[in-house]
Amino acid sequence: MSSVGAPPPVTPAPPVTPAPSKSWTVKVREKGVEALPPERLLPDGQPTYVASWIYVFGVASIASLVVIIGSGSILALKGPAWWHYTSLGLFFNSIHMWSVELFFFVMVVHLWGKYWMAAWRGGRGRVWVTGAITFLIAVPAALTGYVSQQNFDAQWISTQAKDGLNSVGVGAFFNVTNFGQMYSWHILLLPIAVVVLVSAHVLLVRNNGVVPPFELDEKLAGAPAASPGGDGSAPASTGAQS
């Protein structure tokens, strides 16, 4: 039996640096993963300061928006005769209208809460701006819905609104007495804008983390090297944020 000696030395392969890809899909993927790694995009924990009712109204706004989009899709498929003259149509019409009321209600409380905690702190300016623009876009989204009802209420609102809109010079291309135009704005253009902005808003919150309370922010700013999660906040690497 021959003796077994030491295996021959294996020369490690020289490290190969992959050539930078020119593909835009690779660049987008790498930028996306860098900005929002999976544990930050879908975290499984929250900082302890998020355990407050005032942090609930953002997700309540999203929940209302989901109901708005769902009920609005059904109304769009069935049409005005259905939503005016059938009991089920009237039910979905009411669901759509009251979910809009709830959307604005909770969005305003969310806005107040974030205003008084200065939620634009810590490089969160884009979060604040996308939220503010969403609110501003939601207003004409609701107005175009009221003037798309196909009833006397819609006639009254549109004829009242046209003078105000004409006075600021937008009546030529945003004509509230033109049902077809208003309906297109209401069920296509403005909902797309709201959903895109809300999506961007949520992704920016995921990227930046929920704004901490003032006292915690000051404490962390004064600390030379804050321990991860030591004060209830979690660094981005833990994913414990929303």
């Binding site: 924990g45 929250q46 900082p47 302890t48 355990a51 407050s52 009712w53 005032i54 609930v56 109204f57 009321e101 209600f105 305003v108 409380v109 107040w112 809460g113 999660g229 209830g232 979690a234 414990a240």
Partner: protein
Amino acid sequence: MGSVMGAIINLNNPAHTVDWHFIHLSVANVVVIVLMLIVFLLAILLPFPGAAEREAARRSGGAS
């Protein structure tokens, strides 16, 4: 349902408004604004379920 609500609240009249200097609001809008203020205050003041336990766990070295 509409007839039931109609029996409770008579809507067959001009809107009631609140007027103060240049401020001109319908009562319905004032009610909604007051409700939003109440909900805002309650959201700040009311304790969130489980918040105290989470804070105690964090202070004792547990997960945040």
